[in-house]
Symmetry: C2
Amino acid sequence: MAQRYRVAAIPGDGIGKEVVPEGLRCLRAAADTYGFALDVEEFGFASADYWVRHGRMMPEDWRDVLGGFDAIFFGAVGWPEAVPDHVSLWGSLLRMRRDFDQYVNLRPVRLLRGVRSPLRDHRPGDIDFYVVRENTEGEYSSIGGRIFEGTERETVLQETVMTRVGVDRVLRYAFELADARPRRRLTWATKSNGISISMPYWDERAGEMALRYPRVRADKDHIDILAAKFVLRPEQYDVVVASNLFGDILSDLGPACTGTIGVAPSANINPDRRYPSLFEPVHGSAPDIAGLGVADPVGQIWSGAMMLEHLGESAAAAAVVAAIESVLEEHPEVRTPDLGGDATTVALGSAIARRITA
Amino acid sequence: MAQRYRVAAIPGDGIGKEVVPEGLRCLRAAADTYGFALDVEEFGFASADYWVRHGRMMPEDWRDVLGGFDAIFFGAVGWPEAVPDHVSLWGSLLRMRRDFDQYVNLRPVRLLRGVRSPLRDHRPGDIDFYVVRENTEGEYSSIGGRIFEGTERETVLQETVMTRVGVDRVLRYAFELADARPRRRLTWATKSNGISISMPYWDERAGEMALRYPRVRADKDHIDILAAKFVLRPEQYDVVVASNLFGDILSDLGPACTGTIGVAPSANINPDRRYPSLFEPVHGSAPDIAGLGVADPVGQIWSGAMMLEHLGESAAAAAVVAAIESVLEEHPEVRTPDLGGDATTVALGSAIARRITA
Ligand SMILES: CC(C)[C@H](C(=O)O)[C@@H](O)C(=O)O
Ligand SMILES: CC(C)[C@H](C(=O)O)[C@@H](O)C(=O)O
């Protein structure tokens, strides 16, 4: 009997609603071709619409609602006209990452065939690395507050929180990943020269972890120079592990260096599989182009491939990525505006889906 | 009688010792040509050498020693082999920035004639903006600590501290700067969707300040997408104002997009002139190339131009910048390795100095 997977699809806001259907189209094509079944249930929460109707971002029992799924296929959240971003995000995506203990945010950065890098002198294959982002603590703490409000003495504090458990487990994941790749290189992002307490701790734990992986060549780079080197020498990176904030920055910057953040996927992984993992494009809800039908669906589709990989359907996952690259290379007429074309989201999504079944 | 300025020169560590002499060479050329006098006194502290001899980075009375100068001309500090970076930096540069209340760190990002951008399709003049970095508080707080040390429960906290006074004054500086530029555009860097207490506060103050500058078109960008846009559309920026950490990242990333961080200058300014301001290149001590005599001196020389501007010698300042651009454009034979050549620090510095007097 065919393997069945239960997937919760959450389009969310903005272009999330446009790209999730294309992601599902490609996932269904992969399921048909590779002989497994996807039971997809769609949810309207984690959106401004839901907020407007219910005064909250998700139902109170969202953990029960989502907890039984094998994976969450997520679009994007954020509609600042209706609800401030920190309210919508902490009420949905950031909450899921933390409560479902998706402590690894895995974000491939790869220059695809058919995509033009804004950097000179770089060809497909040249840039190919992973950003491994800590996804539950660090700078995204939500702890802090304000004193002397409204006066000249007004002062705001926000804590960065790093725990040994939290730091070690994401470092271990990154070192394992590096150890399994041909180049076996790892770079940890830091800022221990300026951020003088949390970042030296991060360095200390990374240095300790490096001792357990003698085959991995591990170095640190301060975030400022690391960002600069993403532009100047991106080919030198293999696995880059970073705190929550630094990982956030690097995983938008990296994809920009490969042409567009529209293609970048991500996997919010709970490695021990107690909770469902969540797969979403890096790009966000993009209010500026929402509703125009021209959003790039590749980030969503590629996130679908990462989901298939996570579910154990590696052949199907590889086929989806291969279909993305072939279509981008061979069919310039279905490129969306961010890729230099003028095609629609549906045109590009459909072309990739057809290619998967071909 | 000729105007005299008292300048404290602090080469510091690594390539700081190689580029400061070239900076001084050009400053002297400018003084000779424009008819003012520089009394330069050189100091060996704020270096690993000093640390090794004295067990501290600066003499106890450093405030008195430096307080009477009109400006500080600084190289770079950091020599991790001898002293951990957070110790050396917090014992010198970061200390001076805070204690001398140099609350604006002004960092021009400009694609110079004669320098090749790693970005396709960009020509000199296309990229020309300022990063205004908050320089005394924010994420660089040095407040926090560790609990349950050495156990599985080990937890590290570090505070971000924002004060109304601190935030407003740097925003005001940035809005004033934008208001005086032809395009009158300002972008404030934020991350209020994820960093949910300090960054919404930063947004709130920036929004408030924007009301007082109706002629300035002001917008916010989240740091992740802002970093991406530096690569994808750098030409759209005019004045970018950012917190201490975000400003640090953007002011390395911006110069990378203009070819090399070797040319990037900075001014650590105490706008009310109670204390001396400090002028230093963005690049740092660069242990990997220190001692080879091939460091790019342009960042140091251009920092000297910013110092002259601050001292009121605008014509001389403009002449130094013009000399840099002419030499880079017309004399490829004196380009240092980061600029694609094989010349020495001294060759490039001397060529620029000659051009100033020509
Ligand atoms: C050396 C380091 C502490 C410093 C900083 O982060 O401020 C440097 O990167 C800079 O930008 O001046
Ligand atoms: C929307 C925002 C809170 C989020 C983050 O910062 O994590 C996004 O930028 C991302 O990278 O997934």
